[in-house]
């Protein structure tokens, strides 16, 4: 069922992927993390096992029954000694990704976390429930179903890298002018986290708890993350002061939302190129456009940025990792400054 792929990164390419120089130095007051949310559940009725836990360890009896935690969220915080921004940024990753997407780009450049730290913003980077350092729970006992594993094939098409994926890197085809750093594609695949489709409820609960703890703040959300971010804002409109959505494809239906709660919250949605090349293209923007219309109708400040319409071409779904990620971060930072969030 499994076969190893014989391709190795050539040395010259490996050197190309070496970390670039960081953005800038900055004075840090705190680097740390905490877990929030979740609750204990009691597992019972599972058989005991005899297990060798580690190489060299004696065989031991293992009882899987007892109290385990579920629904918790890992949150990494970096706070500056003298932030220039008036509010911290809270980052919501897209589906199947942990907070690592914000740290560095797959080709080793500084990620948006570092960009915004270097520009004076405190950064709060959680891992959604069930992903990354938030850990996950057994199924079917706690989660109701197994996760889905995203393949490289699926990601290549869905993230709009190009028309043809091949296991052999030399045979892959990217879109003309593709902004994703294609030679580092396999480094993005290393970040794919199993996707749980049955834990949106506890995930939203944890994000809501995060907003209670870290906000007033600005939410920066990628893809599916924007659905959680908007719902969190509806829940705590006094705490969410702005929402930036990077290709937020799964915005809620305004007819099913208490949209009035969002009144006064400025929003910026940014879209890349080649969206009509998305294999799931059909009406992909219909929901976000409906959401935009509802926000504008109630007087929200709403900016919809199509990068190609601004003459910025070739951007993938992974805007914050693309070769021009800093240019896109500049757009976000300028917009935040316009809204008065920078001293």
């Amino acid at each position: 069922m499994i076969r190893g792929l014989g391709f190795r990164l050539p040395l010259a390419l490996a050197l190309l992927l070496a970390p670039a120089a960081p953005a800038a130095a900055y004075d840090v007051k705190e680097i740390g993390s905490y877990y929030l949310g979740g609750h204990m559940v009691h597992v019972e009725g599972l058989p005991k096992q005899e297990v060798q836990f580690s190489t060299g360890a004696p065989v031991a009896s293992y009882d899987p029954n007892g109290d385990v935690e579920t629904g918790q969220m890992y949150v990494q915080v970096v706070r500056l000694t003298a932030p220039l921004a008036t509010l911290p940024l809270v980052f919501f990753a897209g589906a199947g990704f942990s907070g690592s997407v914000w740290e560095s780009t797959p080709d080793g450049r500084p990620g948006w976390q570092q960009y915004f730290l270097a520009h004076g913003f405190d950064t709060i980077v959680p891992d959604a429930v069930g992903r990354g350092r938030s850990t996950w729970s057994r199924w079917p006992q706690i989660y109701s179903a197994a996760p889905l594993f995203r393949t490289a094939q699926e990601g290549w098409a869905l993230f709009r890298i190009g028309p043809h994926y091949d296991s052999n890197p030399a045979k892959r085809q990217a879109w003309p002018g593709e902004q994703f750093p294609v030679q580092a594609w396999d480094n993005l695949v290393k970040q794919f986290d199993p996707r749980w489709t049955t834990i949106d409820g506890p995930t939203q609960d944890a994000y809501n708890a995060l907003v209670q703890r870290e906000c007033p703040c600005i939410l920066i959300a990628h893809s599916q993350g924007a659905a959680f971010a908007i719902a969190a804002a509806v829940r705590a409109p006094d705490r969410v002061r702005a929402i930036v959505g990077l290709e937020p494809r799964f915005t809620p239906d305004p007819a099913k939302l208490d949209t009035a709660k969002l009144k006064g919250i400025p929003m910026l949605f940014i879209w890349g190129d080649n969206i009509d090349k998305d294999p799931a293209w059909e009406n992909r923007l219909a929901n976000p456009q409906k959401f935009e219309a509802a926000m504008r109708a109630q007087g929200n400040r709403f900016d919809w940025v199509s990068l190609p319409e601004r003459g910025i071409h070739g951007n993938s779904h992974m805007l914050m990792m693309d070769r021009n990620s800093e240019q896109i971060a500049d757009i976000v930072r300028d917009w935040l400054a316009q809204q008065g969030f920078v001293h």
Copy 2:
């Protein structure tokens, strides 16, 4: 099979657990991460599914077959503008934990990562393969077996928190003078990552690759992490300049090891209190003592610190999280300074 536990943290206790003031400010040159190691494998023969990936998303066809990555490792790096130490610290977490154990303590104090940053060390914090942000692979197709989930009951005994665990926090019993912050126990349980017992090979490969990339360096290893650290040092003795083991219970049998490779590498092993209360106590120290003897016999600098023999009582297995974690970090830092690793 599952029942929810009705206990909630009282507000006063929640306030007690609020983050403490950080250790000190420091000037950071880079905060980032990368993935290393691993390889692509091709999954085939699994059935397609119809799936709604996210709330609000259309039902889509999901094909689990294709290329997926396995064996990769997430590595978080923080580099200072002007480190005082001559070498970075590379942290190896214990079994069933990600690198988050080094960031902050369960009761919200600065963790060892922050302690050593504040004292001028660059810090490299990986997540072992299959844990945390390194993500994990499906079984039985890629990993050969399911993981084991550690219960709160097991952890309470194994980490030597006390003689009696109860689902109700008020009924739990800690050892007299216990140094683990018992009121924050549930925050530690939130960090328990499923344990894979069948991926030591790829895990070691990734640690070996990490040493090639980040060292010369000093390895700081907790519990099972020390087994990987020692094996990595045997593989690259020119790159590992010191090993600090925190309760390194699973040291390799020197008779089965090319011990000569480790010649000249100074080592410090630190042990907490109540080790005879460990439910798996029998001869728990026999292997580490055999290892120590072999190192001393070939002239290695080797320091074995029993904290109770130094008059420091009540430490659990989670030394770097205990209430006196800073005192223990001081011991490590003093020892590193003695070895000449601080300017």
